[in-house]
């Protein structure tokens, strides 16, 4: 059974208010959600709590929502919850690598807080201008929070090459936003 079929089956369970939906979600996406959370939080217990909260949110959201991709739907929820937990956590419990990635990203996004709502659309249009090889590295680093070494291993590159490519992409993003009138 492919992922689409599997998603449909699980989502149907949610719509039927069958609690097996949670178990199936955990079975198929529990590891993935935990990985997303752990890339943000350094504490496994915190991450597991976020994953459990994700299931509750999914249960409350489906129905009426019918996600096109359950994986992406869950990933967004667990990432948001993990970010909220990160904000709450003390500095000692923070994931330093993720913090570093946030700093890298922050340096190339000259938007003010009040312009935050414009960021998703700007990022979408920017990523659309990139070849897949670039946006995959970019999102791997700044969305999924993967370490440079992980990305290098996954894409058959050296860590240095990944760092360089990310740096170039960040510079492109800064230029892209500057051209659209966003300056600090």
């Amino acid at each position: 059974m492919d992922e689409q079929q599997n998603d449909k089956r699980i989502i149907d369970l949610y719509f039927a208010r069958n609690e097996q939906a949670i178990a199936e979600t955990d079975r198929h996406y529990g590891g993935f959600c935990l990985r997303v959370s752990l890339s943000i939080l350094d504490d496994r217990r915190d991450a597991e709590e976020c994953v459990n909260d994700t299931y509750i949110k999914a249960w409350n959201a489906i129905p009426p929502t019918r996600p096109r991709s359950l994986r992406a739907f869950l990933a967004k929820i667990v990432r948001n919850l993990s970010l909220q937990r990160l904000e709450y956590n003390t500095a000692a419990k923070r994931n330093q690598d993720f913090e570093l990635s946030l700093e890298e990203l922050g340096e190339c996004i000259p938007l003010r807080d009040e312009e935050a709502d414009e960021l998703p659309a700007l990022l979408n249009s920017f990523l659309d201008t990139l070849p897949a090889s670039e946006w995959q590295l970019f999102c791997g680093r700044y969305w999924h929070g993967h370490a440079v070494k992980e990305l290098a291993r996954a894409y058959g590159l050296t860590p240095k090459a990944v760092t360089m490519r990310l740096s170039r992409t960040r510079e492109k993003l800064r230029t892209y936003l500057n051209e659209r009138g966003y300056h600090l």
Binding site: F32, K76, D113, E115, L119, N124, S133, Y142, H144
Partner: protein
């Protein structure tokens, strides 16, 4: 903007970017869909495995598994599908309830016409290559093969005969590192399992819902994989190798 706010807003980017950047090997997904591929890709000895002896036993095992005529019930230990004469739409949908959409006449015509013979698949080779080109295949299929194949490549239309062409094409084009080549082979294997409808190596007897001749398709695919020295080193394959070596010696 505060970095955390940036991160929160970034969560809202388009799903295709999220799914397209899921690493194929790093995430410890609790899935049992492709255990052989997962072990193979995560083992760290993939290069050694691939560069080793071609797994004739594995091929034979799968080929033998494919010998089950499409109209007879496959031998499975845990989830045997009902016995039907799969000559019409109704019986097909009964044997493979998850593919309820395939009961549409158009889909059935396509799968029967395209997958039955290699010649027909050959005729679509150029079209497949054009699609791969358009996809910037080397990155996209690595990121999340099932997603991209499902979303953008008409897998069910090309069938297993598309796989060898993809292999040929990918291997011929561009100078890539060995690591990337190995990854692509892993992806192709992933695709092969996916397309064959095999969700687990212990489930090799399961018939391909999109194929009218599993044996020929499997044989064709595995021969091509074998040409590249691809071996899947799993307990299942070892078992298959042992059993096949008893029944059908390979050179």
């Amino acid at each position: 903007m505060k970095p955390l706010l940036i991160a929160q807003k970034m969560t809202e980017i388009d799903e295709r970017f999220i799914l397209g950047s899921v690493l194929p090997t790093a995430a410890p997904v609790k899935t049992h869909r492709f255990p052989a591929l997962s072990r193979f890709m995560n083992s760290g000895v993939a290069a050694a495995v691939i560069s080793g002896v071609v797994a004739v036993g594995v091929l034979t095992g799968i080929i033998l598994a494919g010998r089950t005529p499409p109209n007879q019930p496959p031998v499975t230990t845990d989830d045997p599908p009902p016995v039907t004469e799969s000559t019409g739409k109704e019986s097909e949908s009964e044997t493979e309830p998850v593919t309820e959409d395939t009961t549409e006449p158009v889909t059935e015509e396509v799968t029967e016409d395209i997958i039955d013979t290699p010649e027909e698949a050959e005729a679509r080779k150029e079209e497949l290559i054009a699609i791969l080109d358009a996809l910037d295949y080397k990155w996209n299929i690595l990121a999340d093969p099932s997603y991209y194949f499902d979303q953008y490549i008409p897998v069910k239309e090309f069938g297993v005969y598309g796989v060898p062409y993809m292999l040929d094409y990918i291997m011929e084009h561009e100078g890539e590192t060995k690591v990337e080549e190995l990854k692509r082979l892993g992806v192709i294997l992933h695709f092969a399992y996916h397309n064959l409808g095999i969700t687990d190596t212990s489930d090799w007897h399961r018939p391909d819902p999109y194929s009218s001749d599993l044996f020929d398709n499997t044989k064709c695919l595995m021969e091509h994989l074998g040409e590249y020295g691809l071996r899947v080193n799993t307990e299942d394959s070892i078992a298959s190798e042992e059993s096949s070596s008893e029944t059908e010696p390979q050179s």
